[in-house]
């Protein structure tokens, strides 16, 4: 399967990095590393934008990251109305940056720039797949 079930509203159904979804289903958020030049990418890339090699490998974005910035979405784009309000955050992990929602388990008063985060798969109520940040 490809990306047809990814995110609250899906856009791209087919992409060369469809394996990302299989990993997500098995509980892992993955990024890619170019075997040729070592550059790491999130979102994953099947072909390296840096050295143009097609020899890439997957690695799990495990471990802890840091909250870099966040913002609360009070009014969502079309298709996201029912989700709002939600909080979007930028997280800095080893070698990659990720934009994801903050888990609803984190209370607003506890959100702090610099706090420790982990990223993990999320099954949305309607069965669709995404990923989110949890307190690390």
């Amino acid at each position: 399967m490809g990306f047809e079930n990814f995110g609250t509203v899906s856009f791209t159904t087919e992409a060369k990095t469809a394996e990302f979804i299989n990993y997500l289903e098995s509980g892992k958020v993955m990024a890619t590393r170019c075997k040729q030049c070592g550059t790491t990418y999130f979102p994953p890339k099947a072909d390296c934008p840096s050295c143009l090699s097609s020899e890439v490998e997957w690695f799990e974005v495990g471990g802890k990251g840091e909250l870099r910035s966040y913002t609360k979405v009070n009014y969502g784009p079309t298709g996201f109305e029912a989700d709002a309000p939600y909080t979007l955050a930028l997280g800095e992990f080893d070698g990659v940056q990720i934009l994801a929602r903050l888990s609803r388990d984190i209370e607003e008063k506890d959100i702090k720039v610099g706090m420790s985060l982990t990223v993990s798969p999320l099954k949305l109520p309607n069965g669709r797949l995404a990923y989110e940040f949890k307190k690390g």
Partner: protein
């Protein structure tokens, strides 16, 4: 053929606002004002048309819109007839491309138009199309999309790193709404007070209602030609395109090129090249139109365009250094905050204001202005586009 100097000789705008008119109707209004500015120009003299629009494919359900516009305007291009899409900077990109075509001798007289009809077919279309204005596969899938949340992060980071205050943000809105109050072509004509801005309903804190540009329908158009032809067509002082640049260093929130969201390395890259190509520096600029999609944007722009030191944008705008009588009057026609922002039209509105300023006939004139600058950012701040105009080539 030797390289030619390029001049902007006329500019026009449709009425901007919430319009009961199609994009074609508004393009016609803008072009009409443009034609009226240069009575010696015959429609047959125009050999090129570039039209900047990003949402026309969805909101007007019309792709390849340039030939449709050309027919509506009664012009028959023979050198170039194409649409330009750089979202919020489409109009400026069109002017840069037209300049290149004319300089190279591939075109002689080019109309650059642009605009959007955003409130169709239904209001929600705009909030759906916004998802296509960013990296839609990854940023969009998370529910990023409408600009206020992203620019609230920008404001928060700027406040954290440099101590910028909400009052300083508000000062930008007060100035730009004042500047736009007698620009009747713009969306808003009512001034706002500091108290009104400070107490307005929050959109995404720290941004509230008057910190944000509205959703606006509108079109604009300018005419460009080479120096010798410009002298034939107009008795007004000549205004030259002196330099330009467009920089793109990343495309999504996850690969931000600066140290933090209040640090716009891609704007500095564009500014460096634009100043070099125009052979001027920030101290030479007499008047500027910068992309105030949100109040925080104008503050960061003052810094990364080189009008003040990095981190001092807040005090710079609070003390009126970006206003008439200050170091550099900015957004003299009201900017996006007062005129609104029909994406493809905005860079052209700015060019029109520069034409008027450098010819000494702006509604709010900067006395003796000789060199002017325009700037746009695009999408979720993934691209910066600049043009520098002058009374000398």
């Amino acid at each position: 053929m030797p390289e030619r100097n390029v001049c902007i000789i006329g500019g026009g705008m449709s009425q901007w606002g919430v319009r009961e008119a199609s994009i074609l109707d508004m393009a016609q209004e803008a072009a009409k004002e443009c034609f009226d500015e240069v009575p010696a120009l015959k429609k047959e003299d125009i050999d090129g048309l570039l039209f900047a629009s990003s949402y026309c494919g969805r909101s007007a359900f019309q792709v390849n819109i340039a030939p449709v516009i050309a027919e509506r305007l009664g012009i028959k291009p023979t050198s170039m007839c194409t649409r330009v899409d750089t979202l919020c900077a489409g109009g400026s990109a069109g002017i840069i491309l037209a300049t290149g075509l004319i300089k190279a001798g591939l075109a002689d007289v080019v109309m650059v138009g642009g605009g959007e009809k955003l409130y169709t077919p239904q209001r929600w279309e705009t909030y759906y199309s916004e998802l296509a204005s960013i990296d839609h596969d990854w940023d969009g899938a998370q529910g990023m999309g409408l600009p206020p949340p992203f620019f609230s992060m920008t404001a928060q980071e700027h406040m954290k790193h440099y101590g910028t205050t909400k009052e300083q943000l508000a000062a930008v809105s007060v100035k730009n709404r004042r500047n736009g109050s007698n620009n009747l072509k713009g969306h808003f004509h009512k001034e706002v007070t500091l108290e009104e801005v400070m107490s307005a309903r929050p959109i995404v804190p720290p941004l509230s209602l008057f910190d944000c540009t509205p959703i606006t329908d509108g079109c604009a158009a300018v005419l460009l030609t080479y120096e010798e032809k410009a002298k034939e067509l107009t008795d007004r002082p000549l205004v030259y395109v002196r330099g330009a640049a467009q920089a793109s260093l990343h495309s999504m929130s996850m690969n931000w090129p600066g140290e933090h969201l209040g640090d716009w390395a891609h704007l500095r890259a564009a500014a460096k090249r634009a100043y070099e190509t125009a052979r001027v520096g920030p101290d030479d600029i007499d008047v500027a139109e910068t992309h105030d999609c949100f109040t925080i944007s104008e503050i960061v722009e003052m810094e990364d365009l080189g009008f003040c030191k990095k981190g001092e944008g807040g005090p710079f705008v609070e003390s009126g250094q970006n206003d008439f009588g200050g170091k550099i009057p900015v957004n003299t026609d009201g900017g996006l905050l007062s005129c609104g922002h029909p994406f493809g039209a905005t860079g052209i509105r700015q060019a029109r204001e520069m034409l008027y300023q450098l010819q000494g006939r702006a509604i709010r004139q900067v006395e003796g202005a000789e060199i002017g600058l325009t700037h746009n950012l695009s999408g979720l701040n993934v691209e910066h586009t600049m043009l520098i105009y002058g009374r000398e080539p």
